[in-house]
Symmetry: C2
Subunit: 380 residues, 2 copies
């Protein structure tokens, strides 16, 4: 069951001290022996998602990042500004593993038949602590990938695909018939557009420049609005008039965008002859903030009546709400469309040590659309 090669491995840790210093480092830890219903995965591909960056950097100001340690054991430190420290109190002085998801090869298995059947197979997993060379996980956290799938192809099997599926599911459950997505040229955004084309769901994409408009047009998008355009709110109102979208998923968070979307939704409803009373239309308009590309204040100019809501949206609580059966259906669907609807693309592959270089930290830390890192912990 164990030949010693994988008995110990490196794991990336993030720690914020109560004095306000972020410290990223590698720790060598023993790999647990798998219980009967567990397997040990040699992780070969694990993406750096925006949600991972949140845990990785916390509230630190990464412009203060500095390198120390040794080539074999690099360390990155950075400062958390005093006014943002209170929000980190819940994680002070805890050395936290990072990495929501990844894929690799099963190198050891527990005694159960199901576990043994996975030996040597390529699996994806949603287990946390995936920025590790080896990871011991329960079978029900693993998804066996179709034959011929490489770990890099299965690395982003869960977070983005489930997020795209759950956005559409939220839209349906809450009675909306079309949706809006911001930062829409992201890996997730492209995936959502492919999913919506496949299911005939109307999607209004909001992007930040003309190059991104082009990218989404090439994917087959019908509605793409460029927030850098002088005619942005007119174009958005027109797209909302055509689609009647009344729910938006916003990755930006800060600035005026959420409020602009609500105002344009209301203007589109009025243009579509929805009755307006003294408090505007009675149609509920919803913006879900699921990211924080702009950490500044959200500025909402309220010109859209009283039937509105802006609030946080997170994948994991939503998965709990829809239940295991539905989630399992989603996972099977993802596995079967991994190279089409749910394909991901990366701009750079790095080792665990490579992820702790100043230049890499600055690059993926920008969270800019078009930059997506994949960590391969099996690289030296």
């Amino acid at each position: 069951m164990s030949d010693g090669n994988y008995s110990r491995g490196l794991q990336l840790r993030s720690e914020i001290s109560s004095e306000g210093e972020l410290r990223l480092s590698l720790l060598e830890i023993p790999t647990p022996a798998p219980a009967p219903d567990e397997v040990v995965i040699r992780i070969e591909a694990t993406p750096i998602n925006p949600s991972d960056i949140g845990l990785l950097f916390g509230a630190a100001d990464m412009r203060t990042a500095r390198a120390s340690g040794t080539p074999a054991s690099p360390i990155i430190t950075a400062d958390v500004p005093p006014q943002r420290r209170a929000s980190m109190a819940g994680r002070f002085d805890q050395s936290l593993p990072v990495g929501n998801e990844g894929a690799g090869v099963v190198v050891a298995a527990g005694t159960s038949e199901a576990a043994q059947a996975l030996l040597g197979q390529t699996v994806a997993a949603l287990g946390g602590a995936m920025y590790s060379q080896y990871r011991c996980l329960k079978l029900d956290q693993c998804l066996q990938l179709p034959a011929g799938t490489k770990p890099a192809e299965g690395a982003s099997c869960f977070v983005n695909p489930l997020t795209a599926l759950c956005m559409v599911e939220t839209m349906r459950r809450e009675g909306h018939t079309a949706l809006v997505h911001t930062a829409a040229a992201s890996n997730l955004g492209q995936m959502l557009q492919r999913l919506c084309l496949k299911t005939g769901t109307k999607l209004v994409n909001i992007v930040r420049n003309s190059r991104q408009v082009q990218l989404l047009r090439e994917l087959g998008a019908t509605w793409v609005c460029d927030s850098s355009s002088a005619a942005f709110t007119d174009e958005l109102t027109q797209a909302l008039t055509e689609t009647a979208a009344t729910v938006a998923f916003d990755a930006v968070g800060g600035g005026k965008l959420a409020g602009q979307i609500l105002n344009c939704m209301e203007a589109a409803l009025i243009r579509n002859h929805v009755e307006t009373g003294r408090y505007g239309t009675s149609v509920h308009k919803q913006v879900y903030v699921y990211g924080s590309l702009d950490t500044g204040p959200t500025e909402i100019s309220r010109g859209f009546g009283m039937s509105w809501s802006v609030g946080g949206w997170l994948l994991f609580p939503f998965l709990q709400r829809i239940g295991k059966v539905k989630v399992q259906q989603f996972k099977q669907r993802i596995a079967s469309e991994l190279k089409t609807t749910f394909a991901s693309h990366y701009t750079r592959e790095v080792s665990l040590r490579g992820a702790l270089q100043l230049e890499a930290v600055a690059d993926y830390g920008r969270r800019s659309t078009g930059t997506k890192y994949l960590i391969n912990p099996s690289l030296a």
Copy 2:
């Protein structure tokens, strides 16, 4: 059934032209003959609530208000700024009656026994168009007031009392155990505090100056936070730590207050040792904006994790949601506590003509706490 005295009467109207001019005037209209299940009320008391002001002024800038017409038929006009006109498109060129609620004496009744039984009685009504000398309404819109109740005592029977009851009901239905209220020294705020004291509900009052702190303390309030104090957020966090309130009703709307409440709620949860994950606590924090004392942008600095929502809240859709039986229970309760829990106070009583004087418009238009007008349409 009719002796002619009430066959015609004045009614206040608000109209906004598509050119952007607000016009307030009085119109003499015939009083409809009551159907079998209807009565005609001689309105003697009808309050100017913030919700009435919304319909009365629309998006007009009342600093531009000017008087015209005659002493017997005064007219007020004002300009709607161009950038706010679009939000008024739904009411362009419609002459709208105003006034949610009021009370008076039944001077004519339909042929049904129930209608005849109300002849000469004092009733309150929630019917719209109450800024009228006579109003014909269905029986089920009327609430017979307890013997000895004057119209002025029953004028605010519905909007504020139902709002206070429904805020507490919203708190309960959505799983919160205490609540926050802003602009808490208002008539509504005082009523809510009396209601909460009576039902043992924990209420955190946010007011805008030390005089208002004193006013609420005299009512018996335990938690009163002054937003003009340098220690405001500390005091609010302390009050939220003691009460564990996670829902707020905000009459202000604009500015930083809604965001401050959410941030202080999160800080209080952490102080109360609620577990925090990478996205803050998983406890849902809610701010309902039900007014717009500050029409400027809502500025939300998001330092409170992802379990949050800010949205509009309106009384009438909520009443529809809870259903007629519950609403009837509330109304009976209000009638029985009209001189205690649900008592209202007014600073000035005016006729319909008096309500259309520049000085009065400027006074009630400020919507300042402590200024509350009552219209008595039966005055000359």
